[in-house]
Subunit: 667 residues, 2 copies
């Protein structure tokens, strides 16, 4: 049976939220972002309770605390902002507070004799409180207790007794010294992972370094790539992501357009990693040297950007690991190494690691050392290839190990698979995740999916990164939608998702021809050959990319997904949504024509109250794409978009702040 002390712990703390899988996984926030915590707190009977939200860095012994406030129905709330990137814990404690109970009941008492007796009870409680206080507070509280005891007995007026007992200022002081011996703690110390701001707001640009030579036909180098950085920075990107830069296998090398046999000149796929020239810690000789890589990282940094590497844990047949560590690979009964397959498909140029090998400790440590090698070289962002085909336990371990030493490292999970494995990867530690965005095209699909991402249970751990294209994904929408589709898909990605990216220059040059009908593969894909891009083509989307990225940087509303809400428009081809910054000072309303071929118009219905606009007020819709400013009045307004000109508005909603001599000023 409970001890007498346990029996006194009468407060209940329950349903502390957010919590992921009973605290098995961490909630995520970026530095500076508040964590709002709610919990059920109550006790038996009529006594008054107090509750505290507490938190600490995982390696700190002491909790910090903030007092929770009651909402309705025994639900309590408070928030805190953790510090530097790293791992934290939080929880809730509550206790039945005798002094608060006494005060609540005292205020309701009517019987004069009762009031005098209750005043004496209160005097005793305040005296106890004073003994827990120190210095000046102790004196003040002891004096209050004596005065109350005296007033209870001296036959003076009840009004005086009441105002002395219910003195707000001294009670506020007493609240700092509660009797918490019998407090109840929610038994689970919930984990929180704080990431650096770029984990929550980033603009990615993927490019193949071997296609960066200004000279057609020559293999691009890391130095060529470095020369491209000014242009990419001018477009406003902050993460430059490179497909694998390691030596490419020669055995079973694929030819152009994924031909089974490569010609002598074929450069192969960068994801067929490893040859006699080295493996995951080497640089493909035709790209340059480690020094070239360091120069690239340094230049990116000088431009406010960073280099993201692609980590693909798989080997070409001639990767040095295959000979050095044969136990890391499965064998077929005929003695050959088991290549990757998903019957009836075979990928004979790729050997997967056998994560279940008896030698898993050595394998896992070696793979971890791959991350660490590039971290030493200044890389802090990794895009991980197909993490869902390697054990979850491996990722949880390696991300945790690296995060403890380098809490600023960002991992993007490239898992295009079923929802549960994608969510598992996000829960176990991946900082960001690719999404289904590429295949969400209609108003209904986009609304449902982004509502789920922003407001579903995954909002606490799954940070979407939206890509309209990748080297593997040339969607039907882009194949057949022309320039308007490229523009609208870009605007959607960049305004719906705080993290987004494109695969360029294919994107800004609107590369749209598929290898064959029904395929999402590019014709003459850079995955298997060097491409030369005419970057100065007059129809390039480069200026638009620069504008969209500037709008993102200048508008906090677009730097988080939490403030997303969809807006009603009476045309199924028009989608509209608002994003509002946490402090409500910045609101962006985006309207996109989802039909790349026709002018579409409709009436938009804004929930004005949500944006703090009176029903009869005038407000300004400032289109940040065109620069045009429209005066709107009331909830219902007309919009028209011509995809041949510009299939989207990105409005900043500006409230009227004053009116002078018939002239309106907007914020």
């Amino acid at each position: 049976m409970p001890t007498p002390d346990e029996a006194r712990a009468r407060a209940v703390v329950d349903r502390v939220e957010p919590a992921i899988d009973c605290g098995r996984f961490a909630v995520k926030r970026v530095q500076g972002e508040p964590l709002v915590v709610v919990a059920d707190c109550f006790t038996d009977g009529h006594d008054t309770i107090r509750a505290m939200l507490r938190w600490r860095a995982e390696d700190e012994p002491e909790w910090r605390e903030v007092e929770m406030q009651p909402l309705v129905n025994d639900r309590w709330q408070a928030l805190f902002i953790a510090g530097e990137p790293g791992r934290y814990r939080y929880g809730v404690v509550a206790w039945v507070d005798p002094l608060a109970t006494w005060r609540t009941e005292f205020a309701r008492r009517e019987d004069p004799a009762d009031l005098r007796i209750a005043a004496r009870v209160g005097a005793a409680l305040i005296a106890e409180t004073s003994r827990r206080a120190g210095g000046g507070e102790r004196t003040i509280l002891a004096e209050w207790s004596r005065a109350l005891e005296a007033a209870a007995g001296d036959g003076g007026g009840l009004d005086r007794l009441r105002s002395l007992a219910l003195d707000d200022i001294r009670y506020g002081l007493a609240l700092r010294f509660p009797d918490r011996r019998f407090q109840t703690a929610w038994p689970i110390e919930l984990p929180l992972k704080v990431d650096r701001p770029r984990a929550g707001f980033s603009s990615w640009y993927e490019l193949f370094p071997r296609s960066t030579s200004p000279q057609r036909g020559r293999h691009g180098t890391l130095a060529d790539c470095a020369a491209r950085l000014d242009d990419i920075a001018a477009m406003g990107f902050d993460v430059v992501y490179l497909p694998p830069i390691h030596p490419i296998g020669r055995e079973k090398r694929k030819g152009r357009n994924n031909a089974l046999a490569a010609g002598a000149q074929d450069v192969g796929s960068p994801w067929a990693i490893g040859s006699s020239e080295g493996g995951h810690k080497s640089i493909h000789p035709q790209l340059g040297t480690l020094d070239d890589f360091r120069a690239l990282v340094a230049k990116a940094k000088s431009l406010g950007m960073e280099i993201a590497l692609d980590i693909a844990f798989q080997c070409a047949p001639d990767h040095p690991y295959v000979e050095a560590h044969p136990q890391w690979f499965r064998r077929r009964p005929d003695g050959t190494v088991q290549y990757a397959e998903n019957p009836p498909k075979k990928y004979q140029d790729i050997y997967p690691f056998d994560f279940e090998t008896d030698d898993s400790a050595a394998l896992w440590q070696e793979l971890r050392s791959v991350f660490e090698f590039w971290i030493v070289e200044g890389v802090r962002v990794f895009r991980v290839d197909n993490p869902h085909t390697k054990p979850f336990a491996f990722w949880e371990w390696v991300i945790d190990e690296i995060g403890r030493e380098h809490p600023d490292v960002v991992f993007l999970a490239e898992a295009f698979t079923r929802p549960k494995p994608m969510h598992r990867l996000a829960k176990l530690g991946f900082t960001q995740s690719y999404t289904y965005f590429a295949w969400r095209n209609t108003k209904e699909e986009l609304t449902e999916y982004f509502t789920e991402l922003a407001h579903g249970p995954g909002r606490e751990y799954f940070r979407p990164n939206a890509w309209p294209n990748t080297p593997d994904i040339l969607t039907e929408a882009l194949q057949y939608g022309g320039r308007a589709a490229f523009v609208s898909r870009l605007v959607l990605a960049a305004t719906l998702s705080a993290n987004y990216g494109i695969y360029g220059p294919a994107y800004e040059l609107m590369e749209h021809v598929a290898r064959e009908p029904g395929s999402e593969e590019y014709l003459d894909s850079e995955k298997y050959e060097i491409r030369h891009w005419d970057l100065d083509r007059p129809d390039s989307l480069r200026p638009l990319l620069a504008l969209v990225n500037r709008i993102r940087r200048e508008n906090p509303a677009l730097q988080s997904n939490a403030g997303l809400s969809f807006v009603s428009v009476d045309n199924p081809q028009l989608i509209a949504y608002a994003k509002r910054s946490a402090d409500a000072t910045n609101t962006i309303v985006t309207v996109v024509d989802l039909d790349p071929h026709h002018v579409q118009s409709g009436w938009i219905d804004l929930d004005l109250a949500r944006f703090g606009i009176a029903p009869d007020d005038t407000f300004q819709m400032h289109d940040l794409l065109s620069g045009a400013r429209y005066l709107w009045h009331g909830a219902r307004n007309f919009v028209l978009l011509d995809p041949a000109r510009m299939p989207a508005h990105v409005f900043r909603l500006r409230r009227r702040i004053r009116r002078e001599q018939d002239f309106d000023y907007f914020d």
Copy 2:
């Protein structure tokens, strides 16, 4: 880092449901009722997994298991039926199954060389499986392995190889001997409490024994009460619940209609427990002796009923505990014992226990012994008075302790308070709970509340017991609604809730005068005086009670709340709902006129598909209250109820099972 064996545990098990507060509290079922369990199970990559639902009695070392089946989206499901009343544990395990994976992939393979190599892989896996099997199975599997190995190498036809490899019968045998060394278990062993059937389906009749004398003016006795049992049994009740039967305090005794001072003849409130004649383990001398009580229990048993006692842990000022255990009570500064209060209200005739006393161990054990005293006397049902004003930890401990020795004991929580404390009491162990039913009158209120009770999260642990009246609750609906209100509230309680009760004979005699306007207290309440009831009044609802209880006994649909769904009617004064038994063989559709003063009619819209009726089929609505049988056709049908005659239909929906010579037969 994980050991190589842990690294091999690649399956994920997550979100096992039902689970209450991460397994902190038990899910409830009654004996024979299945528990359907669902869980997320998946693994990395493309491998095939298997998953088992497992369960055991808490004191059994070994799990029983049943294989789970995949639903959609990585969600798996299975069910089990636990045994005798008691405490159980359940959980889910899953593993990556190499043989199942091999078979799935083999079936998809096309390349002849691959098929032969894969057959050899399979032969090895089957050989391993045979070594885990015993006896005859071992032989069969070993032979299968040899045959497959031979067929892989003999250059025979691929069709033969394929059919041998994919042999269903031998695969079915192999499934019994999986390699589960690296299985993953959901880390929480979830608790399940199985109660006896009456916990889920019961009909309660509350009466004051002191008012059971057939002779006006004489104090009723337990023997008089026993004489009433035949009548109560004839009305179809199965739990006869008595307010406290202990000696009643004389100090501060309340008079008739709760007058502050009692007259010499006033009998006092049974809830003011204890006097010089004894306390919680004694019987009020005017009611009789312990032998009389034993006779009452025996007679109830002989009639298929049982006696429920009221456990009210509080004392009259002259309860023997007050002198024997002064440390169990709080003192005021003036040295007097602290009476119950909720300022400005005072209850000077009641001393609450101080559950936080330093002597709590002795107090808690003594209170436990009160239950045990009456258990020895054959009581297995306790209605607990105001449990929400005593510590939750006490109830959790005492119910757990008693349940381990007497898993057939039923505890009904009389907590009319906020939702969170009510749910906490149900979670921590109370078998049944009083509800807000008495104050849910409109169609909207009833629909919302009973939908929540039947289908909200509480459905796993909160078993509602619906009472249209109690000695403390004479609702406005009953005060002003006349006979029709008594009938309709009875039908609602008895058909919406598998557990229900009435306070009689006040109910069947339609006692409806309140002590004063706006009060829910009865005038001349039995709580403070002896009443003489004219049980043979011709307008008594006794025949209706007997009929309603018979309908409940004969229709399994009414014996659970799980099958409840509300039915659309186009009149806000008419409410309609269906209840269907788990096996779908019994469906009851109840229609109630919520307006006690006027005839109401409307069109009812049945979801025929839900009840297995074709859109164009005829079915019979057999009104079990009136005996009338209506032929309905199609979803939309007319209903009319006249409250002056009968404000409700309780239809048994009968499907047409055959038609012979233009004559329809219904089930």
